[in-house]
Amino acid sequence: MQKMNKIIYLMVFVLSSFIGSAQEINKPEPNVKDTLLTNLKNNALSEAQPEPAMADAFRSEGKIYVVIAVLVIIFLCIIGYLIYLDVKLRKIENNTKEKL
């Protein structure tokens, strides 16, 4: 009976020590440094979010001019094709008018 009691007391003691250690894990440490950090974080969140990442590096390296050149070249080719069609049509229209 006493041995049983001893085992029971031992188990209760060990288990309660676990509970005690769990409490320590959950509790945040009241540090001066921590409170400063949380205050700064709250300030940052209440103000504007961080600047959206734009392509400034791309632009500063001058690569944007390559993009623009490509787009303008493609577009001028399309315009050139339209001008070619326009001139060809004008010739055909003039020919049919001469026939009349």
Binding site: P52, M54, V72, V87
Partner: protein, 220 residues
């Protein structure tokens, strides 16, 4: 004939290509630099709406004056408008992939509206090809054109503004004008609309001249 407004169209669009890429834009999350797509994607759709409007005006003119030339221009304008919907859709899909995360969605009313409008105008061309008599074809397709334009306007411009939508300017979303407080974007955007409409008129001019020549050649 090389007219002044054709050269103006080319110059304006080259200006929007250059300054649209270099000019300042508002810095927004999710969009980042893709906000510049508004200089190309939106004016292309404006050009399509303009061409469809031109087409319906010519259709009404045909019903009023029975001039087959109006019917011819009406058909060509509808073709140009439908052609412009292709780059509009493709640029929209590209933009959606990088901002909404998907190429297409059936949840957005504007995308559904655009799909329906394209199907309506495809039906217009099928209707035209199903009638052989010239005058009958012109009359019936002119009437259908009027309905098609009204339906397109409702599906693209009106219905998306009444319900939830991801599109800017529709469904409780602010349009880009709200972010462009210093008018930097408007300096490129408004000329771009004019430039692309003029370009669509140039393409219409060429198509009109080709179809008139074809018509004259067939009916000699």
């Amino acid at each position: 004939m090389i007219k002044w407004w054709k050269i103006l169209a080319a110059l304006i669009i080259v200006y929007t290509l250059i300054w649209g890429m270099l000019g300042p834009v508002p810095k927004l999350n999710i969009l980042y630099e893709t906000i510049r797509n508004v200089y190309y994607h939106v004016p292309i759709w404006f050009a399509m709406l303009f061409q469809m409007g031109f087409s319906v005006v010519c259709a009404v003119n045909y019903l009023y004056k029975s001039d087959l030339r109006s019917d011819l221009i009406s058909e060509q304008a509808a073709q140009v408008g439908l052609f412009f919907s292709l780059p509009g859709l493709l640029t929209g899909c590209m933009w959606a992939k990088f901002t909404w995360g998907t190429w297409w969605t059936f949840q957005d009313p504007k995308l559904n509206g655009v799909a329906i409008a394209i199907l309506i105008y495809l039906a217009y061309f099928i209707l035209r090809s199903s009638i052989t008599d010239e005058l009958k074809r012109a009359r019936i397709s002119a009437v259908y054109n009027i309905f098609a334009f009204v339906m397109m306007f409702v599906f693209i411009m009106i219905l998306p503004r009444l319900t939830d939508s991801l599109h800017p300017g529709n469904g409780n979303n602010p349009a880009f004008g709200k972010y462009d407080l210093d008018n930097h974007m408007r300096m490129v955007f408004y000329p771009a609309i004019i430039g692309w409409i003029l370009l669509s008129l140039w393409i219409l001019d060429i198509k009109k001249r080709i179809s008139i020549l074809k018509y004259n050649a067939e009916n000699e």
